[in-house]
Amino acid sequence: MSQQIQQELDVDQFTLGLVGPDQEWAGTVADGGTVRTHTPAGCWGPMITPSFRGGHEVTRPIRVENAEVGDALVVRIKDVSVTSIATSTGSMAERDEAFGDDPFIDHRCPECGTEWPDTVVEGTGEDAIRCAECGANASSFGFEYGYTVVFDEDRTIGLTVGPEGANQLAENADENMALPENSRQHPILLYKPDEIPGTLGHLAPFIGNIGTTPAVELPDSHNAGDFGQFLIGADHDWGITDESELEARTDGHMDSNDVRPGATLICPVRVDGGGLYVGDLHANQGDGELSLHTTDVSGTTELEVEVIKDVEMDGPLLLPNESDLPDIAKPYTDDERETANALAAQYGVDTVSDAMPLQIIGSGATVNEATDNAFDRAGSLFDMTEGEVRARCTFTGGVEIARLPGVVQLSMLVPTEILEDVGLASVVREQYGL
């Protein structure tokens, strides 16, 4: 079934919080085909559901025709739509005894010790998730400071509610969260937090976790240079001994609010077939995701995929909407080129290099280390010294925070002849109509 190549592939199966080469395929989409997904909410639902091995509930990996290790997978984001009616979020508090080393990964019932216990819902509130074996509260998370948001019918705004509204939404939590049929998480609306009621927010949905399957198995939430740090020294099955092992990551969990309709991602292929996966949609979020969590929602995506052969990439690239680029990283106008040619003639410059925008994703323990990682990735991809990368990014780009503590987008106007050499010029031209 999964080997049948489909021009349009609908995906409705999800993992239990893991990404990696051993996950069952969702199906195979044609090179140039379209993927449609309806994913359950990310962080909070899986976090409070002890059967999960990671902090998200992403799709099974999608095989893409022609994708082989060493290629690049282009993912054009055509649509992202929120299906949840409401959600709850905020900052987290871990619950002692409900996990081994990592509250996102190695869950265990604090009473009977069952690992990754099956659970049932009894009532609402932070003690509603009960071990099916012994009845104890088995969730590894509560809220340190939480709030519940309800959306308008068109999903243009969100309004935080007080205790009455939060209680009302918790009573039909599954339905209000719009969890897809095959989802296995408990809805976070059950917790019914009610801080900052009456706060109105603008919605701007995007995809928090999207990328290609890494060559090693990782908890989906930890597939990033910052979150992956918590795997170091852990005794569970996904623990690593040294952070150099994080080079196997594909940085799918980037939480960039620019990964929205109209943007294009270019992802490194680390397993044959690519293994595109999608999840952790957010209804909105400011740069940095300052609570470390935001409005996790169920939602649909429509993605067009294309394989570019033989592109040596160490991490993902992003071509955001032009309006999301820093001003000085936007494509040149004809007037600017004409003015530059006049200056070139006056000052003896032989050629004005044409260039096009591109963002390199970097991740690491801190923003500084993430930026260093982006410098390294840019230098490797474009065969530039760090000095040249820094110079070009200073003069024609910049660095933006996707997520704290350590995911960044490094913008640069990259000389077109370099993009031609590495095989990326056509996808950038198409993105910006150049």
Partner: protein, 88 residues
């Protein structure tokens, strides 16, 4: 004593490896962490809760081996410190 720190703790220390002053006798992991926080007060929230209890997901390795707060460390021990898990 040399400490290797991981995760967002490096935003506090500014480097991956830091040194803290030690006496010439063994001391517990908990004591080492307290003195680390004295040296880097902004690390407190990543290691201890409001009651001063070590957060459950904080991990400490002494010479590469998992250690409890009560584990005794030699003055020359190499300490690896992973703060409480955070993120979403």
């Amino acid at each position: 004593m040399e400490l290797t720190v991981h995760g967002p703790l490096r935003g506090v220390t500014g480097s991956k490896t830091v040194s803290i002053a030690t006496d010439d006798h063994e001391e517990s992991v908990h004591s080492v962490l307290e003195r680390f926080v004295e040296q880097y007060p902004r690390a407190n929230q990543q290691l201890f809760d409001d009651d001063g209890t070590l957060r459950a997901s904080v991990r400490v390795l002494v010479d590469g081996e998992r250690a409890d707060p009560e584990t005794e460390c030699r003055p020359t021990a190499a300490i690896t410190l992973i703060p409480a898990a955070q993120g979403g």
